[in-house]
Symmetry: C2
Subunit: 125 residues, 2 copies
């Protein structure tokens, strides 16, 4: 099985997640070998949660899974680009479409985009 070079970063590779239709960058996540294999086997984006230290099927709690449409490795084969169909409205746990919603402007952070769901309703916290 083709796989990225996990050994360069202690068993993990960074994964860029992009909306396959709009091209919007939705998030940056990490995969280990098990999440890579699960993603290829199931077609549903599965990452490694560094904070919880466990396999993380993106959207398992919220229903907002990511169906993988295209997979690319970079030239050095130590980074992954997933082009996905984002099921539901948003990728970010804040309810926004993209995790990259904090724009630097004039030395300050400006939040771009409105929440599309209420995280308290989805995650119950």
């Amino acid at each position: 099985m083709i796989r990225p070079h996990f050994e360069k970063m202690g068993g993990l590779v960074p994964v860029v997640v992009q909306d396959w239709q709009s091209g919007e960058v939705l998030m940056l996540a990490f995969m280990n070998a098990a999440s890579w294999e699960a993603t290829l086997r199931t077609g549903v984006a599965t990452y490694w949660s560094r904070s919880r230290r466990e396999l993380w099927i993106k959207g398992r709690t919220s229903g907002r899974i990511q169906r993988v449409r295209e997979i690319f490795l970079d030239c050095d084969e130590d980074a992954v680009l997933l082009r996905v169909e984002q099921v539901g409205d948003a990728a970010c746990h804040t309810g926004r479409r993209s995790c990259f919603h904090k724009q630097l402007a004039g030395g300050e952070i400006r939040i771009v985009g409105e929440p599309l769901f209420d995280p308290r309703e989805v995650y119950g916290t």
Copy 2:
């Protein structure tokens, strides 16, 4: 100065680099605090080369620099998205537009895109 949380990954943050007009993902790189500050100060994308262990002004050798148009942090502020104007034809040292040119298809890698310059002429190797 606003800065990402470098401490979560030993002083580095992953940086997604996207063409600011087409939305194409060009590469994945890393920054340390010094490269972050240089990027903000100069407006030219500056990374940390993990292999050479030095500040890396992207395009310093080839002339194919990246002018930074927009900067985003993600929700956790531990990843960066640069939307850039790629000067010249290509971001990848292989001469291709994007470093993410190795597509997984049918269990094999298919190279997408033709070289736009000859790396031997540019890098002399």
